[in-house]
């Protein structure tokens, strides 16, 4: 299995993000934010950006993108921020609050019982 960040030289991660490595505390992306491609990959696009657009044809969680690309989560968030800023992806953020919504909890219970 690929072990990004372990097998890869840090230089590769550096190149991928243009030297940025902070997705920032203000990063809009949660691990389970669902990302949806809003455009197709275009020739000449950075290959990781193109791969994300192909993956996210259907809603795809940030953590799934990271796993499929074989990249650490923080690096993946930077790549996703680029795509979000240019409107190439949209993001469906989890409806979290400090306290879990009782309605959501009930929906989770129903969903689990139906498994």
């Amino acid at each position: 299995m690929r072990r990004p960040g372990r097998d890869d030289a840090p230089d590769r991660l550096y190149t991928l993000t243009g030297g940025r490595s902070r997705s920032g505390p203000d990063s809009p992306f949660d691990l389970v934010t669902l990302v949806v491609a809003e455009s197709d990959a275009t020739p000449g696009m950075q290959s990781e950006h193109a791969a994300i657009l192909r993956l996210a044809q259907a809603p795809t969680a940030v953590v799934e993108v990271a796993a499929e690309l074989g990249l650490p989560v923080s690096i993946t968030k930077i790549l996703l921020s680029d795509l979000l800023a240019t409107g190439r992806v949209s993001a469906r953020h989890p409806r979290n609050s400090v306290l879990p919504d009782p309605d959501i909890l009930e929906q989770v219970l129903v969903g689990l019982r139906n498994l």
Binding site: L13, V32, L34, S74, P102
Partner: protein, 208 residues
């Protein structure tokens, strides 16, 4: 890099819009990945996060070179609950360094399952202490490794478990059993928050 993208993916439905998190915490070999696999609709995937010793994700690439950064791996599976809600189930190592990443990765998590091997109960102590300090709702599930069943009273005592925390036996290989574990957790979360305006802040336990 393209080879890392598996050909066999099960895409979510187009209306999915709310990702939820539950974390299965436990020591090495306790069956976290087995439990994730038994209920997941996808083959469990593995990914990593890198952080500095200070507990932040890497903000200076030179820190990776300087080996002051460390990497934590975790795997996860997915359960589509309905047209909108998708539950992600994370298997996370309970070791000390992992907890630096808890807030970063698992803020907003519904709750946690502490998976226990009763032959190595002490492995779970640290995880339970951290979850209590974080105020994260959790239950304890003893994975059945075929040995003698331990009386729940003994397990509770060994873990110094709050009487309100559910404790159950499970077989992580069984989809039905793992499903029951998750249902028990979500029911516990519901009960805990019902009629309560703020999450209970667990009183810190003393280390001895």
């Amino acid at each position: 890099m393209d080879s890392a993208i598996s050909d066999v993916r099960t895409p979510l439905g187009a209306t999915a819009d709310n990702g939820l998190k539950i974390v299965v915490v436990g020591g090495f070999g306790v069956g976290k990945t087995t439990m994730v696999r038994s209920v997941s609709e996808i083959r469990p995937l593995n990914t990593e996060e890198t952080m500095t010793r200070a507990g932040e994700t890497v903000d200076d690439i030179s820190e990776i070179r300087g080996k002051t950064a460390t990497t934590v791996a975790f795997d996860f599976g997915r359960i589509t609950l309905d047209a909108r809600n998708v539950l992600y189930l994370f298997g996370a190592p309970g070791q000390e360094r992992f907890w630096f990443l808890w807030d970063r990765l698992f803020s907003g998590t519904l709750g946690a399952v502490v998976l226990v091997d009763t032959r190595r109960i002490d492995d779970s102590w640290y995880a339970i202490d951290r979850l209590e300090r974080h105020g994260t709702p959790f239950i304890v599930a003893c994975n059945d490794f075929g040995g003698a069943r331990h009386a729940h009273r003994d397990v509770r005592e060994a873990l110094d478990l709050d009487p309100q925390v559910p404790l159950l036996d499970c077989d992580a290989r069984s989809r039905e059993s793992s499903k029951q574990v998750l249902i028990t957790l979500v029911q516990h979360i519901k009960n805990r928050y019902a009629g309560q305006t703020a999450p209970a802040v667990a009183s810190p336990r003393e280390f001895v």
